[in-house]
Each structure stands twice: as C-alpha cells, then as structure tokens.
Symmetry: C2
Subunit: 323 residues, 2 copies
DNA sequence: TTGAAAGCGCTACCAA
DNA sequence: TTGGTAGCGCTTTCAA
C-alpha cells in the first residue's frame, strides 16, 4: 500500500507538498497540485488515518457502551447516534457491557489505550467514570451516572405518573407494577412517580413486583398473576414485560382489556404486533441517541451546552390494552 | 497523559526497557522490571495503541457493515460477533449501510484509511468488494457477494422447501408467498426452494408478492389479502411480515390457523408474542455471526479454512399459526 | 541485560 | 510556493 513518500517521489515533490494537497491546506501551485493528484490516483493512495491520529493525538473515534444489543430500545438509540457520529466525520466503536461492571471496565481500558475522542455511556454503575483515566468528554445516556457528567434521559418520573393516572382514570382498583431492578435508576424513578400518584387514592391497592429484565421472567409474572386473581390493572416496566403478562393472562382465561388493563413502557414495535396492541409510555428513543451524540460533539468542540442534564418528555400512547 | 518516555525517565531506564516490560518480551532483570512497574503505576501509564498500530501497520479493528440496526435479525448476529471479536483482542467498528451502496462505499473508504484488519460484510451489492483497495480478509455474512469471498449463510433454499412442505402437508391449496425483494439473494433462494417444491403439486395455486422489507408494507399485504379471500396458506419472508399478515387477516375476520395457516421466517422473538404464536423457519442467527467472526480470524491468522462457503442448517419451528 | 537509534506515515514549522 | 525536518509514541534491531 502506497504511502505519502511514494506519492511525493512519483510526483517529484516533497512529502510536505503532498500533505498540503491532501489536506487542502497552505499554498500550492495549481500545476503542482495536479501532478500530485495524478500520482495519488495512479498509486491508489489513501492517507493513513492511524499516522494522522498519532500526530493529532486523537482517533476520531467515539466509544459507545450500552448494556445489550438484543434489545430494540438500545438499537433505536444507537441508530440515532450513528447518523450523528458519521455526519461529524467520526467513527463508532460499539461495545455491550451485558450489565457487567468488569466488562465495562475492560472496554474503558480499551478506549483509553485507543485514544477515543468521546464516550457515550449507558451504565448502572454510578462510579464507573472514575475507573477510567480518560480525560475526554462523556455523555451519560438513559441513566445519570454522576452529578457532573452531562446526561440525556427521558422523564421517567413523569412516565410513572402518566401510567398511574391512566390506570386510575380507567377505574382499576387492584394494580400490580412489574418494575425493573432497583439497581437501574430509571426503574426507580418510574416506580416513584407511579406510587406517589397511586398513593393519593386510598381505595387503590398496589402491588410491586421487581423483576430481572435480563432473563426470561415469564414464570415469575405467571406465578404472581395466578396467585392474585383480583388484579385488574398492570403497569409493566417494559413492553416486553407487558407482552409476557398478556400471554400469562390469556393462559389464565382473563381477557385484556375487559378484565385487566395494561400499560407498558418504551413504545417499541412489539406494541403493534400483540393482540390486543399495547398501550404504553413512549420514550423518544431515537432522539435520545441523537441528542446524546450532539451534546457529545458540543463538548468535544468545547462549545457551551445549554444544560448539563437534558430530560426528554414522554407520552402516553393509547392502544387496545386499555379501554 | 504520560507516555513511554516519561515512564523511562522516572524508572531511570531506556524506553526500550519499558517496552520490553509492557510487552513481556525479551530479557529484563527482575529488579529493573519492578522499577518500571512502579513508574507505570505511579504515572498511571497506558500504552498508546495508535502508536503501536502505526508501527505494526494494523489497528486490531474489525469493520462490520450490516444493512440495518433496527432489525432483531442483525442484532442477534452482531451480538454473536462481538463476543468473538472481543475474545480475540480486537475491536468492532460497526456501520449500517441502510441498503445504500454509496453509504457502503463511504464506510469502506473509512475502513481503508483506518487500516482495519478484517471485514464482515452483509451487502446486496455483488461487486462491492471491488470498490475497495482493502487487501484484508473479508467474510460475507448472510449473503454471498462473490464466488471467491468466503461466506457464512443459512440454507435459504432449504428454508423455502421446508415451508412449502409444511403448508402442503397441512392441506393448503391457495397459497401466497410474501417474499423479500429480488435484489436480496436469500429472498430469491427461499423463493426458488418454495416454488420448486410447490410446483410438484398441480392442484396448488401459488401467488407471489414481492415486498420491500425496509418500509412498512402492511397496506400492500392488506390489499392483496382483501382481494384474494380464497387464500388459505401464507409463506412470509420474515416474521415481521407474518405478524403483519396476521393483523390484516384479523381485520378481515379470518382466523389463524383455522382459515389461513402461516409460516414465517427467521425465528425472532416476535414469534412468541403474537397471538397465535408464529410457526417459522429458524435460522441460527447468532451462530452465523459467531462463525463469520471465527472464519475471519482464521483468515487473519492465515490458518486454513475448511470450506469457502459455509451454509448453516435451518429448521422449522412449529407454533400456533399452523395446525 | 540494557540502551541508542531507526523507522512506522503523517503534519506543521521554519527557511529558502 | 516549496522542501527539509522534527516529532507524534511506540517497537525492534544492533551493539555494548
């Protein structure tokens, strides 16, 4: 593979001149430029980004750590980010932590040695940032990891409130909340918003069941529902949970939304495919990814950012699982 | 950020010695080693991978191009790959082409300048590889892009046969095949296997409808089904299509599997969430990703590979959309 | 067992 | 407008 020296030799100029041409920087005679271009063409030359990176001490790579790829929620986020990152002329180094802090640390180490220019982090470990000697901009996504690290999250507290209000106005009196693990901040906020709203009505009974989202929790859902036949409303921590609950109810001979009404969370595509379709709290997932990336680039370019912690609005989407 | 020189100075040795220590290569006195280790610790030193990459002319990065992230099928593939890539000490640079050849070329260019060590490519452009001056190992995934580029695919032809046999043995006489675009090789193979099998029975009528998978094609499905009320069997090119068809049938008051039987394709999670659940042709998606990555590393290490084109078996998974 | 120095491919400074 | 060259941080030869 040809390098800048080869081009210089063929064009009969110095490497400095070639460099000026490929970077369109500094003075270079039109004729000389043509000579260089021809040599580049002939040798099929492409500049070596690694050498450039070494000189400029920056790789133009953005590191991204998310818990899991097998999750439409995170996929939509990444999809949003990738566009922005590409558009800014950077590359994406994508990593999944599988919710393991050791793996997060491993990737952080890799990022550190590879001189990434920015990091988008979706982690449950509040002190994760301290495990890195990375002195580059970081944006926390979906979860706040520290007071002074910029973040982009959805309004989870409001999500809980919206779900509660809906189920209440629908007349549900015996409600179960299948919530995510307490190690995950958004799950806690949703739970808080939900319970605080519910607690205003003394005639409503609310059960809370905490589930591990990373494994198949159908049997736990089933176990709860079979032992609590009086349940008439469900707030599910994710649309997947909502779909599973619906299947369990069906097996138990209870119909949705006639006997039990369900509100899910996220608004991923599955909501439209179940029967009945799922009423849910929609998060602006793709926007979250885009805004996180945009914020990161503002930090990289040392532009001012309006606010450290950006909270995006959520919205209730009415479908068939409520009436 | 400290560099190797700083460490050398602090430990009172040469950079060559530090290099030997951090690479555990060549002779170095036990005591000297300790001194160096202490200096590394004290300075919080991490070697600069970019400088290393420049020297060794390899970035330890694997480029991955897939059509779309918002597709469970590809996510599962990537999930499989990532593990293998990490395990081999490499990094993943992930890119989505959005089925655009220009975007593929753009990323190929980026890969070329970034000296990636290997490429996993899922593309519909048969001549895409020629657009790159990359002289690195390439593995084609899910689709064969050229006779001499190693590939990992599922047995799409057999998938078509399995689906056809099932619908035939179920007694369907009026069948529609909602197939993927003819620009996508796997869609063609499935179609061939399906039609060749179906054609053996002169009493069966088969319609073929070609759909664009990248947009919402529900209305086309609906239009076909409403104008062909005699349909009693459907072979869907993906589980998503199968799910959409089921919703359309429901709207039309036709029940699955009583009036119409459906076989999907892929075996993604949605199969379990619809009602009825979807009978489908299962592809070993995650394995495809893993094997593609394993093959790539064999090529990188110049180890022999057993066969250039690996075809993985598919399997019919019986669920409720057939009886 | 250690160190000096060349070189990986590039950019940018300074001189000409 | 051009070229020589130092230097980005590292590895590896070669000599000591």
């Amino acid at each position: 593979m040809a390098n800048i020296k080869d081009v210089a030799r063929l064009a009969n100029v110095s490497v400095a001149t070639v460099s000026r041409v490929i970077n369109s920087k500094g003075y270079v005679n039109e004729h000389t430029k043509e000579l260089v271009m021809k040599a580049i063409e002939e040798l099929n030359y492409v500049p070596n980004e690694i050498a450039r990176s070494l000189y400029r001490k920056s790789s133009k790579i953005i590191g991204v750590i998310i818990p899991d790829l097998k999750n439409e929620f995170f996929n939509d986020m990444i999809s949003g980010m990738e566009e922005v990152i590409l558009h800014h002329g950077y590359k994406t180094m994508l990593c999944t932590s599988k919710e393991s802090i050791d793996r997060e640390k491993e990737y952080l180490q890799i990022f550190s040695t590879n001189k990434i220019d920015g990091l988008i982090l979706c982690s449950n470990s509040p002190d994760i940032a301290s495990y890195t000697n990375l002195d580059i901009p970081i944006v926390a996504l979906d979860r706040i990891i520290s007071k002074d690290i910029p973040s982009v999250t959805a309004d989870n507290y409001m999500g809980g409130i919206l779900a509660a209000n809906r189920l209440m106005s629908l007349g549900c009196k015996n409600i179960v909340q299948f919530r995510g693990p307490s190690t995950v901040a958004p799950a806690n906020e949703r739970c808080n918003g939900f319970l605080e709203t519910m607690n205003r009505d003394p005639y409503i009974r609310v059960h809370t069941v905490e589930l591990d989202f990373s494994t198949d929790n159908t049997s736990e859902i089933y176990k709860f529902l079979i032992t609590h036949p009086q349940i008439d409303g469900i707030f599910a921590g994710s649309d997947i949970i909502a779909a599973r609950a619906m299947r369990c109810l069906k097996k138990l001979g209870r119909s949705v939304p006639e006997d039990v009404q369900i509100v899910g969370y996220d608004n991923i595509s599955i909501c439209e495919f179940t029967d009945p379709t799922i009423t849910t709290i929609a998060q602006p997932i793709q926007s979250m990814g885009e805004i996180a990336a945009e914020t990161l680039f503002k930090l990289i370019k040392k532009e001012p950012i309006e606010q450290l912690h950006i909270t995006l609005p959520v919205e209730l989407i009415e479908r068939e699982s409520t009436k």
